[in-house]
Subunit: 419 residues, 2 copies
């Protein structure tokens, strides 16, 4: 829904922008962005701006929380309110800076922006957006600066949306306001075919489909997968672009109006922080896998790739990956769970996931073969394989990330624009 201009019947398009922590790291950067926002508003659009906490301020708050908590982990409810202050600081400063530049502006906390969530402190999910106040402020010609990353639960407690939560705030507000576009400004200038630090010929994509971006985001690209999912479900186009460099970014949108000629493989996603846990010689009967994974899920361990080997004499091996941060806890828990039902539990750190992603893959054969051949030729051993309709993932030793990324980028000719 476009916002009212005050003149009956006349409406303006709505743009939601999001600026990350490095973009608003100090007063000078905030003032610079405020000018850009005002320039954009002058083109006749209604603006909602979502901001993250300034620079390292979130880490400083976490340090304080750990300092006062001693051996106890800080309560998630308290940590949420504490961390939410970082975004409140940025949102009020940005509203002041925009006002100083000459455009009326108002800051809104997550609560004031009507963002209601479930009660999962630390990684709450948005349940509802009550956007009345936002609409009222927009209709009065104000730029609304919303504190990202935060919402309010039905207990009237502040919640946070987890890592990358401000992206989710921005896209969710875009959905609620039926915005014309959601723009994520960051310290990278778009989505690349793979990590340009590893592969010098990596190419910036002008556009990418929601599904492909979702796979890329889940697999290491610096965007919150939930925000992409939201954009996809409600068809809000998302532009990823550089905050300070004036160069074209990457537009994430529905596949039906892709202008670039499609190729089968769009990019190579890299996830560096992978660990593997193998449960050996577990009894191969219904329900056994559940006995392992239900307690892990209840303990909040996010299990990623799961591979079960073919059964041998009624016994089977189950291997799964978890992120490096969860590794110690997951390993201890798995050993405890499997102490009587498996022969052995072993763990490995220092792995990585290399994935090729592309909507086109679902219609053509041979992509897996090409991927395995390229990795083999580069001397990279594959430890695990998993696939989705538009993705093939290999788990490899993290030491070989560079060779693997270059080999795959070359094998699928990602340095060349689609022809």
């Amino acid at each position: 829904m476009a916002s009212n201009t005050g003149n009956p019947g006349e409406t303006r398009p709505i743009i939601v922008q999001k600026y990350g922590g490095s973009s608003v790291a100090d007063a000078e950067k905030i003032s610079t962005i405020a000018r850009k926002i005002c320039d954009r508003a002058e083109t006749g659009v209604s603006m909602v701006v979502v901001v993250s906490a300034m620079g390292d301020s979130t880490d400083e708050l976490i340090d304080l929380a750990n300092a006062v908590s001693g051996d106890h982990p800080p309560a998630a409810r308290e940590l949420d309110t504490l961390l939410s202050t970082g975004e409140l600081v940025t949102s009020t400063l940005m509203a002041m800076a925009i006002t100083a530049t000459g455009h009326p502006a108002v800051s809104l906390s997550g609560q004031q922006a009507g963002i209601r969530t479930d009660k999962t402190h630390g990684s709450a999910r948005i349940a509802d957006i009550r956007a009345d106040r936002l609409r009222r402020e927009l209709d009065q010609g104000r730029i609304c600066v919303v504190a990202g990353f935060q919402g309010l639960s039905d207990n009237d407690d502040v919640t946070t949306l987890g890592r990358g939560g401000s992206d989710t705030t921005a896209v969710a507000l875009g959905v609620a306001l039926k915005a014309d576009q959601c723009e994520i400004y960051t310290d990278v200038d778009g989505i690349y075919t793979t990590d340009p630090r590893l592969v010098p010929t990596a190419r910036k994509l002008a556009e990418i489909g929601y599904d492909e971006m979702l796979e890329m985001a889940s697999l290491g690209a610096k965007m919150n997968p939930r925000s992409i999912e939201l954009g996809a479900v409600y068809d809000v186009p998302i532009l990823v672009a550089s905050t300070f460099e004036d160069v074209p970014g990457t537009l994430i949108h529905g596949g039906d109006y892709m202008m670039e000629v499609r190729r089968a493989v769009t990019g190579v996603a890299i996830d560096r922080d992978v660990s593997k846990i193998t449960v050996r010689a577990v009894e191969d009967r219904p329900g056994v896998v559940g006995q392992i994974f239900v307690p892990l899920a209840e303990a909040g361990v996010s299990v990623d790739v799961i591979v079960q080997n073919a059964s041998l004499e009624g016994l089977t091996d189950v291997t799964f990956t978890v992120s490096g941060g969860d590794f110690e806890r997951a390993l201890a828990l798995t050993k405890e769970i499997c102490s009587e039902m498996a022969q052995d539990v072993a763990g490995n750190r220092g792995l990585a996931k290399m994935s090729i992603v592309g909507t086109g893959m679902q219609n053509g054969p041979g992509y897996a073969a090409t991927m395995f051949a390229a990795l083999s030729k580069a001397g990279v051993n594959i430890e695990m394989i998993t696939t989705s309709e538009i993705r093939i993932t290999c788990v490899i030793d993290a030491e070989h990330i560079g060779e693997a990324a270059n080999a795959l980028h070359n094998a699928f000719e990602l340095d060349q624009a689609g022809d």
Copy 2:
């Protein structure tokens, strides 16, 4: 009202404590105070703890606000939300520290504590306290840590209560919860007969009446007068004591159960930051004074002592004092107002107010005479005089504060306990 212990019919006394910014300046101090709070809770009382922002954090936020605002003063609404984050940080950290020490605790923002205010951003007044949630948390055995200095207006915007606002939060919560005592912990260890830095024989008072403390607080003592007023109206005893030193503080309470034998003069209050504006030869007819002071009030200038000299040939001189911070603005505005109705407007900085305060003065004569004689003997010239029922104030040159304070302290024998 005492809080429920969970056992029907059994209740515990309620204590409200407040810790100022220097008491919670770093993680270590917060942990130290958390232990003291837990020890106190173990004695079987229900505890509400009000905290200020850590150390200089408020000043740092104000610097940021000025940096992004350029020549414009930051909008008061935005500044209020910005500054309120300082107390949110302390309240969540304190709740974590108390929990780590072993007692269940919960932080509450001003809003969550039900503190509703009017819409005067920057110096809002508490309109109502909806203490349901506080009572619920106390009944569940939690220590409630409330972010001081802040509330919520009917617009659902965060407001702040002005300088010393956390004192007001504490006493107002004490009133709402019918607390047994409100305790203000700070970097001084009580209320003295006068400033001990000026008068070495200054003596700490064991107790003081609300009225006397209100005069002392209005006249330079480091407490928020509004908090004293609230305590007086609802008869909540207020203890002022040192955070880290374990020495007796001063109890502010109703006069009827004063244990110390009363003397006429309780203390000498000193206000250092006084300026004087004199309007000469203004027409002496009804309404003239209003023409001067109504515009000053509308401009937010707080006028203090006002003296009007006897009329001479239909003309009169009006002199009034303002705080040093308001001086330039007040002088310019008064010149503008009086350009056609007075002969001349003159201003003086560098003055101070010396006041003797004591409930006993209302029943006895001669205190003014003793005061004037003591100042005269000390060579201190009196520029203006004003009195209330329990106070006599002289405006003097700030250079003579030391001599004046010692002279008055001696003249009224304040170095000796009441006999």
